[in-house]
Symmetry: C2
Subunit: 192 residues, 2 copies
C-alpha cells in the first residue's frame, strides 16, 4: 500500500466514517453488513478494516465524534443548543443508538467505555461550563454539577428515544423552557 500523507489519511478516515454513518442510518446497526459497508463507503473491506478494526470500532468512533460535538455545543450554546440539536437530528441515526443499546446492556465494560466516549478534556470543559453557569446564576447553585448533568441526561435520552421510536418529541422550545425552570438559577426568569 502506498504511503499516504497525513491529509490524505485524514480524508480517507473521514470518508470511511461518513459512509459508515449513512450505512448504519439506512440499514440499522445489525443490518449494516460488511458488504453493505463496502458498497456505501466505496472502499474494500480490507481497506476499511485497515483503519478501524471492527464494525463496533467504526460505530464507537462515530458516537465519540457526535458525543464530543454535542458536549461542545453545550459549552458554546448551553443546553438550548443540545436540545435543538437532538430535535433536528436524523431519526434513522438516533435509532442506531437504541439498537446498539442492546450491546451496552450486555456489557459493563462497554458501558464504561461509553461513558468515556468523549475525550477527557471535553468532559472536563462541560463540567466547568456547568460550574461557571452556576457562578453566573444561570444554573442553580444548590445542586452538584453532577446532579445537573444527570437530569439533563435523562431529558436528552428521553428526547432521543421518542424520536428514535418514530414519535414526535415535544417542541424543543417547550423542553428548553421547562429545563430552565428546573435548573435555572436566580438570574433565569421562569418561562411563561
Amino acid at each position: 500500500m502506498p504511503k499516504l500523507s497525513e491529509a490524505a489519511k485524514q480524508e480517507r478516515q473521514e470518508r470511511i466514517l461518513a459512509g459508515a454513518r449513512r450505512c448504519f442510518a439506512r440499514f440499522g446497526y445489525e443490518g449494516a453488513t460488511v458488504a453493505r459497508l463496502e458498497a456505501e463507503i466505496g472502499i474494500s473491506r480490507g481497506a476499511i478494516f485497515n483503519w478501524f478494526p471492527s464494525k463496533e470500532a467504526l460505530f464507537l468512533e462515530l458516537a465519540s465524534q457526535e458525543n464530543t460535538r454535542l458536549l461542545e455545543l453545550i459549552v458554546a450554546e448551553g443546553y438550548e443548543g443540545f436540545v435543538h440539536a437532538v430535535a433536528k437530528e436524523d431519526a434513522d441515526w438516533l435509532a442506531v443508538y437504541l439498537e446498539f443499546g442492546r450491546r451496552l446492556r450486555a456489557s459493563a465494560e462497554l458501558r464504561e467505555r461509553w461513558l468515556r466516549l468523549a475525550p477527557p478534556e471535553v468532559q472536563e470543559r462541560t463540567r466547568r461550563w456547568i460550574v461557571e453557569a452556576q457562578e453566573r446564576g444561570e444554573l442553580r447553585a444548590d445542586l452538584e454539577p453532577d446532579e445537573i448533568g444527570k437530569f439533563l441526561g435523562v431529558v436528552f435520552d428521553g428526547m432521543v428515544t421518542q424520536r428514535a421510536l418514530g414519535f414526535e418529541a415535544p417542541p424543543p422550545d417547550l423542553v428548553v423552557a421547562l429545563v430552565r425552570d428546573a435548573l435555572g438559577g436566580q438570574s433565569a426568569p421562569r418561562a411563561t
Copy 2:
C-alpha cells in the same frame, strides 16, 4: 375443550400473561420463542394462542396493563409515584420495551395503537388529574395539560431508557424535585 367459568378464564389469562412477562424479561422480545413461551407458561401453544392471537398481542396486552397501572398511579400519587415506580421496575422488563421499539419505529399504525394502549377512560382520568392539579396550584396553570403530559413523557422515557440500557438513572428523589420545579404551580415550593 371444556367450558371454563369466568373466574377460571381470568385465572388462565393471568397465568399466561405472567408467564409471558417472565419469558420476555428473560430472553428479550425476539428471544421469547413460542417454545420458550410454552415452557415458561407451562401451557401448550394451542392453548396460549387460543387466548392471545400472537406474541405481539401478548406483549401489547402486558404493555397495556402496565400503562394503565402507571397512569392510575399518577392519578393516585402524582408523578412522584410514577418516577419511583420506573426507578424500581425490573430493568430486564424495561429492556423489552426498547427492543419492541424497533417495531414501533417501523409501523405508524402500531405507534397509533401504542398511544392508545390504556383504555380511554384511564387516559381521560389522567388528563383530568392534570387539570385539577393545575386548579389546586400543584401544577403550573400557564401550560396546556398536553404540554405537561409531553414533558413528563420525555422524563419518563429518559429514565426507562437509561435503566433499560443498564445505566444507573439519577435518584428518583432528584428527578421528582426537579420535575416539581419545572412543572409545579404556586403552591409547590422549590426544592432545595
